[in-house]
């Protein structure tokens, strides 16, 4: 992974010192809250419902064990002993005190981390496929390019005050695990006549106006990436709306002007930008790429892995869901579920962080990833060592066998933490997971993505959930809308609202009815929920959600 240069380290230290002085001036009254707020947001510090929240960037979800241990130390020393991994592959600390934050940032700088541009109308943390560099289906590791974009976008003077925040995602695999079509810019690594490049997707996004991104360029040569990105950002910076926050994202710019008009403007700007680059970015990308060289994979006999699968049904069930194919023979990708039934999705205690760091060091070539689905990945584990990894994970409460299943729920912090939320999302996820566990049906139901947001900003990606749940405030009461048929992969689709919302005590039974209906409706065990939905349409699923007509009318009035 990328190691900071002396320049990077000095830059981050300077920002910590600057913020330390800003906090001191806020505390001694030299700065008002109005003056201080934009400064703290530039350093990832929000004021939420119960406390401050520090959002720390984990670039493209990549961590080393030392960094994970430092997150654990920060959680223990300045927070409440846990961290919350987010759908942006970041980590959030929910309880810092203002005067401790400079020390927290200093501790992050000690391990090459920071919280810069995790808020504000800037280019945010670049996200990537969490299996990058390991997946069997990958064309190329997208992380060197993601790192190049991170460096280019960090403190880029032209793009510090965009009309709105800006999110870039990149995948090197045709199987899109990075939700590229729901980002402001999605980059898919492709080749043409043997030459590497990108399909550039523009104007995707979720939130109050969900949009699937449109193809801006079907092939952009790799060498042109940064000037082309700069042309897009420069175009958006001038054209994007600043009169209405809710219409300021580039998806609205694309919607209002059309993708063809945007393309014309970007292509007109592109030559000017390209002329200014001069090739330095190409040289630097090569230097970055050298730091992402694959680890020295061993040729280990996988026999112990297969023997353990044959002998232990619990281990077999866990590997069925939590181990994915690796590009190197004899290796597997281990997904560690942070979704124990009834737990808060994405939370890990400091002790669990240390266990994961130790396992990465001992069995995984020192590599850790955070997925946008709020789990942790050990991307490079010899199959022979996976039984030992599983045993250690079980001892730490991290052995849940549910990756990709219905209880592997994305949930935003919702009204348990977030000042923007209109309803809670975590308790809904907890209750659904516990109910599915009690029913014992989620293994039979197979791949099924439930995603929950506690407001229309859609941090929980509910629009692209096979079953999406949106929590709202209806006349002072929590109410939950259900969307069906969403998809965040290469066949991306925005889910369709099923009908009237459900009260808090109705939503779990409603989801249960949906899953039971699917089990009845499907062609066979190989037909997934999404496939069945696409084959049958919404009607039979709506019938399961709203089994009686009279209560339906009542709900309609209430919603």
């Amino acid at each position: 992974m990328y190691d900071y240069t002396a320049f990077d380290a000095a830059f981050v230290r300077a920002r910590v010192a600057q913020f330390r002085a800003q906090v001191a001036r806020r505390l001694d009254g030299s700065l008002t809250e109005e003056e201080f707020k934009p400064l703290r947001l530039m350093n990832g510090l929000y004021l939420q419902l119960h406390a401050y929240m520090l959002r720390v960037a984990i670039p493209y979800g990549t961590l080393n064990p030392g960094q994970m241990r430092q997150l654990a130390m920060i959680a223990d020393r300045w927070d409440k002993g846990y961290g919350h991994f987010t759908t942006r592959q970041n980590v959030q600390f929910n309880w810092p005190r203002l005067h401790d934050v400079p020390d927290m940032l200093e501790a992050l700088a000690d391990v090459g981390m920071h919280a810069i541009q995790t808020s504000g109308n800037t280019i945010r943390n670049v996200t990537a496929d969490h299996f990058a560099g390991a997946a069997a289906d990958e064309i190329a590791d997208p992380r060197p390019v993601a790192e190049l974009i991170r460096q280019w976008s960090t403190d880029h003077p032209e793009f510090q005050f965009l009309p709105r925040k800006f999110k870039i995602a990149i995948t090197g695999s045709p199987n899109d695990r990075a939700v590229t079509r729901a980002h402001d810019i999605g980059l898919r690594m492709v080749t043409r006549d043997g030459a590497p490049g990108f399909e550039v997707i523009l104007g995707g996004g979720l939130g109050r106006t969900p949009m699937i991104g449109k193809v801006l360029r079907d092939f952009l040569p790799e060498a042109d990436l940064l000037p082309y990105l700069e042309a897009i950002l420069a175009t958006y910076n001038l054209l994007g709306r600043r009169d209405n926050k809710f219409k300021a994202r580039i998806k609205i710019t694309v919607h209002e002007h059309g993708i063809d008009a945007l393309r014309d403007l970007v292509e007109a700007e592109f030559p000017r930008r390209r002329a200014a680059f001069g090739g330095a970015d190409r040289d630097w990308l090569a230097a970055i790429a050298a730091q992402f060289a694959p680890p020295a994979f061993r040729d280990a006999d996988p026999a112990p892995y297969h023997a353990a699968r044959d002998a232990d049904p619990v281990f077999r069930a866990w590997t069925d869901t939590n181990v994915a194919a690796h590009r190197h023979p004899g290796y597997g990708i281990v997904s560690i579920s942070l979704k124990a039934h009834g737990a808060t999705p994405g939370d890990a205690t400091a002790a669990q962080m240390r266990v994961m760091a130790d396992l990465a060091e001992r069995h995984g070539h020192g590599a850790l990833r955070i997925s946008h689905e709020q789990n942790v990945i050990l991307p490079h584990v010899p199959l022979a060592e996976i039984p030992a990894v599983h045993a250690a994970l079980r001892d730490a409460g991290l052995g849940t066998a549910n990756i990709g299943l219905a209880s592997d729920i994305i949930a935003c912090p919702g009204m348990d933490y977030c000042s923007l939320a209109t309803a809670r999302s975590i308790p809904v996820a907890q209750d659904i997971a516990q109910r599915l566990d009690a029913l014992g049906i989620e293994q039979a139901a197979g791949p099924l993505k439930i995603k929950i947001s506690g407001c229309i900003n859609a941090c929980g990606h509910h629009h692209v959930g096979h079953i999406g749940i949106l929590g709202l405030d209806r006349a002072g009461v929590e109410n939950y809308q259900v969307t069906l048929g969403g998809d965040g992969t290469e066949t991306a689709a925005i889910g369709t609202r099923a009908g009237p919302g459900f009260a808090a005590d109705e939503i779990v039974p409603a989801v249960e009815r949906l899953i039971l209906a699917y089990l009845e409706l499907r062609d066979g065990p190989d037909e997934t929920f999404l496939e069945a939905y696409r084959r049958l349409g919404a009607a039979p699923f709506k019938a399961a959600l709203y089994p009686e007509s009279e209560p339906r009318k009542d709900r309609s009035r209430a919603a």
């Binding site: 806020r26 505390l27 009254g29 008002t32 809250e33 004021l47 939420q48 419902l49 119960h50 406390a51 401050y52 409440k80 309880w95 810092p96 005190r97 203002l98 005067h99 808060t344 009204m415 348990d416 933490y417 809670r424 975590i426 308790p427 907890q430 405030d473 002072g476 009461v477 929590e478």
Partner: protein, 102 residues
């Protein structure tokens, strides 16, 4: 005809700790909703909010929140204010985990 005035409390977040605080009848800030002043007059509500908002070295984001009388003091009306008073509902590790009732 204007709507009848709903009783309110002044609430904010503490500047340093960030936690939820309430303005008490004697003008101090309490971490406990039940110790808040239940304001039943719109003029006094506006005046108290102005006093709170001026305390920029102590609190952030003061506002008026609806409340109602309870056996031990004012109680929240909206569920958002209930969560602010108690702490997160996913598991008790906010104010509800402390020894004193809120």
């Amino acid at each position: 005809m204007s709507r009848p005035f709903t009783p309110q409390v002044v609430t904010a977040n503490a500047l340093v700790a960030g936690d939820v605080v309430y303005l008490t009848p004697d003008g101090h800030w309490s971490r406990h909703h039940a110790e808040a002043e239940l304001i039943e007059d719109p003029d006094r509500a506006a005046a108290r909010l102005a006093e709170a908002a001026a305390q920029t070295g102590t609190v952030v984001g003061a506002y008026l929140a609806e409340a109602r009388p309870g056996p031990a003091g004012p109680m929240p009306v909206h569920f958002r204010e209930l969560f602010r008073a108690q702490g997160p509902s996913n598991y008790p590790h906010g104010k509800q985990a402390e020894t004193r009732d809120v």
